[in-house]
């Protein structure tokens, strides 16, 4: 099928969503480096944060092939309103309970999205999806292990985790904010769409949360927190960008 302008715009929007989510969350999670609860976890969490930045780079490179600016320019010189990231990834790291729940919600979404994209008609994206499938699988295993362990831990651990699950859930639903190009993406075989992804994700996480002994929040009474995909962000994104680009901004033309 020949791509029209709308197909290309839809594809770019999809790539920006994914890449921006990964870059912002990768940066956020790296804030735990050196401060993690135990040395082994600190290393594992930092390493996964690094994986996310690496994945975002691969996606920015595809965008560059589609005519967007260089990956570094795209990552380090845009303002908050030019980012397509969802609110979930922008929130400060908070306490470890929140960071783990975000990791669980986000990485299952990431794994399922990548799984769908292993069949996309866009060849470079298909290759990236196949390449990162294993890496992301480990991220979900790591998240599952912690959620399971903390449900079996002290009463305090379980209460705090459940609270974090309830509070994070509306933000997590914002990951699936629909694009204005859903129909084009689906008809061209680029991506199966946010609605389908959300449905699979809900099934996967509710089964896991129930198995671990948590209560799945009620989807019917939860209002998703939207806007990120359209450039409307929380107050936390711009300060994050300022901090992330501080060194780059000293001399944007420097050769690293």
């Amino acid at each position: 099928m020949e791509f029209t302008d709308k197909h290309v715009l839809g594809l770019k929007d999809l790539l920006y969503r994914m890449a921006d989510d990964l870059l912002i969350l990768g940066h956020r999670n790296s804030e735990w480096t050196g401060l993690g609860p135990i040395l082994e976890e600190d290393i594992a969490f930092s390493s996964m944060a690094q994986d996310k930045i690496g994945q975002s780079l691969a996606l920015y490179e595809i965008l560059h092939e589609l005519g967007e600016s260089e990956p570094d320019t795209v990552a380090f010189t845009r303002n908050a309103e030019q980012f397509h990231s969802c609110h979930l990834v922008e929130l400060p790291i908070g306490e470890y309970d929140f960071s783990l729940v975000r990791h669980f919600f986000f990485d299952h979404q990431s794994a399922l999205r990548i799984e769908m994209l292993t069949e996309t008609v866009v060849e470079p994206l298909q290759m990236v999806a196949r390449k990162f499938r294993g890496e992301i699988k480990y991220h979900t295993m790591h998240a599952d292990s912690w959620l399971k362990q903390l449900a079996l831990g002290s009463e305090e651990a379980k209460i705090r985790m459940q609270q974090a699950i309830n509070e994070t859930f509306p933000y997590a639903l914002g990951m699936f904010e629909s694009s204005e190009f859903e129909t084009e993406l689906i008809e061209a075989g680029i991506f199966g769409g946010e609605a389908q992804l959300k449905e699979t994700w809900l099934r996967v996480i509710s089964e896991k949360l129930n198995n671990f002994g948590y209560t799945m929040p009620d989807i019917e009474t939860t209002e998703p927190i939207l806007g990120g995909r359209k450039g409307v962000h929380t107050e936390f994104l711009q300060p994050l960008l300022d901090e992330m680009t501080e060194v780059f901004s000293i001399d944007p033309s420097a050769d690293w």
Binding site: E31, A44, W146
Partner: protein, 126 residues
């Protein structure tokens, strides 16, 4: 007074200078697990180090990032350190004779000549 650091994350955390939090007692540590890595199918698992973890599942998660993120690995074992039975160094004399028991060394077998000759032939044929 709150701790002020060049690292913005530390300043943001608003930690009191006189805080006693975060001091660990001996029993606050997790148990350790020994990690064994297999680089290729069919080869032996080799001991590569240890990790602290609350259970074997998390020990596996930690071992993966700790020991396999550089280089090849196809399989991992983790074993609770306390489950490994060890010899005492004071009993190290039980090993002393080993080096002199040449009849246990495969080099002493007469068949070695034939093996060497076979290998030589293989090499020449290749």
């Amino acid at each position: 007074m709150k701790i002020e650091s060049l690292d913005p994350r530390i300043s943001r955390a608003g930690i009191d200078e006189n805080t006693q939090d975060g001091e660990l007692k001996v029993m606050d540590h997790f148990q350790t697990y020994e990690v064994f890595e297999q680089k290729k199918r069919g080869t032996h698992h080799v001991h590569v180090g240890s990790v602290h973890a609350p259970n074997s599942e998390l020990a596996m998660m930690f071992a993966k990032e700790q020991y396999t993120r550089r280089g090849q690995c196809v399989n991992l074992w983790v074993v609770k350190t306390s489950e490994i039975f060890v010899t005492e160094y004071e009993d190290a004399d039980i090993f002393e004779n080993t080096a002199t028991k040449l009849h246990r060394d495969p080099n002493s077998y007469k068949v070695m000549d034939r093996i060497k000759a076979y290998k030589e032939r293989q090499k020449n044929n290749a």
